[in-house]
């Protein structure tokens, strides 16, 4: 992957609707310059196995004025490591 830039944050969540499927700390977001795809990695603090098995998960990164939300295309957890490929911002 050739990253066009990275975005780092302290705290984010994986959500199924409004329910928290996982809490992620120390995450890094990177956009592939060639494909435009977003990737994120971080550390899993808490996770809910039931919710993580649901469709339509979102990666939600709060910021001061609200939150950025990406649809998660695929993800893997090798505790405590979380990695996901994201679709466009919602």
């Amino acid at each position: 992957m050739r990253a066009a830039g990275v975005l780092r944050g302290a705290h984010a969540q994986v959500k199924a609707a409004y329910l928290t499927a996982a809490e992620i700390t120390g995450y890094t977001l990177a956009k592939d310059e060639l494909t435009g795809a977003w990737f994120v990695s971080g550390t899993v603090v808490t996770s809910d196995a039931y919710l993580l098995a649901q469709a339509g998960l979102l990666f939600v990164a709060p910021h001061k004025g609200g939150a950025w939300r990406w649809v998660i295309e695929s993800f893997q957890i090798a505790a405590p490591r979380f990695e996901a490929r994201l679709k466009a911002l919602t």
């Binding site: 705290h11 969540q13 959500k15 199924a16 609707a17 409004y18 329910l19 809910d48 039931y50 919710l51 098995a53 649901q54 469709a55 339509g56 939600v60 709060p62 001061k64 004025g65 609200g66 939150a67 939300r69």
Partner: protein, 144 residues
């Protein structure tokens, strides 16, 4: 056999002055336990045969209920900027609640209490219906 998991749903609660809250329609079992944990003190078991008592802290219970249900609102800060709580960490939501004027906080708490009571009634009514069936659209869809 019946469906025992509800699809996450929200409701909009209207407040005075055109404001509104967005709240969870229902709590999951995990959220309900967390709410009870925050609202009550640990039970001390008495001697055999003695009744056990549970202490409820009404102040903590009110705040725990608000934090359990509240997702978003239309409130603004003193400068007229949106008071953002959606998708924010619990500490941010709690801090925002703490800085409301007391009358506004109580209006929020009363609205959510009324919502909780209405949902309890609705769920009891659902159980009494002849079919008692809940449609498949009310479950989370498995990705598997």
């Amino acid at each position: 056999m019946s469906i025992r998991v509800r699809r996450p749903a929200t409701e909009r609660l209207e407040l005075s002055q055109g404001d509104f809250l967005i709240v969870k329609q229902d709590l999951t079992a995990g959220e309900y336990r967390a709410f009870l944990r925050a609202a009550t003190k640990p039970v001390t078991m008495g001697a055999a045969g003695a009744p056990a008592a549970m202490e409820l802290d009404p102040i903590a219970a009110g705040e725990a209920m608000v934090l359990a249900y509240l997702l978003d609102w239309s409130f603004q800060d003193a400068d007229g900027r949106p008071l953002v709580i959606a998708d924010q960490p619990p500490a941010v939501v709690r801090a925002a609640l703490d800085h409301l004027d007391s009358a506004s906080y109580m209006e929020v708490q009363r609205a959510i209490q009324a919502h909780q009571t209405a949902r309890e009634t609705a769920i009891e009514d659902e159980k009494k219906t002849a079919s008692g069936a809940t449609g498949p659209d009310r479950t989370l869809t498995s990705a598997a």
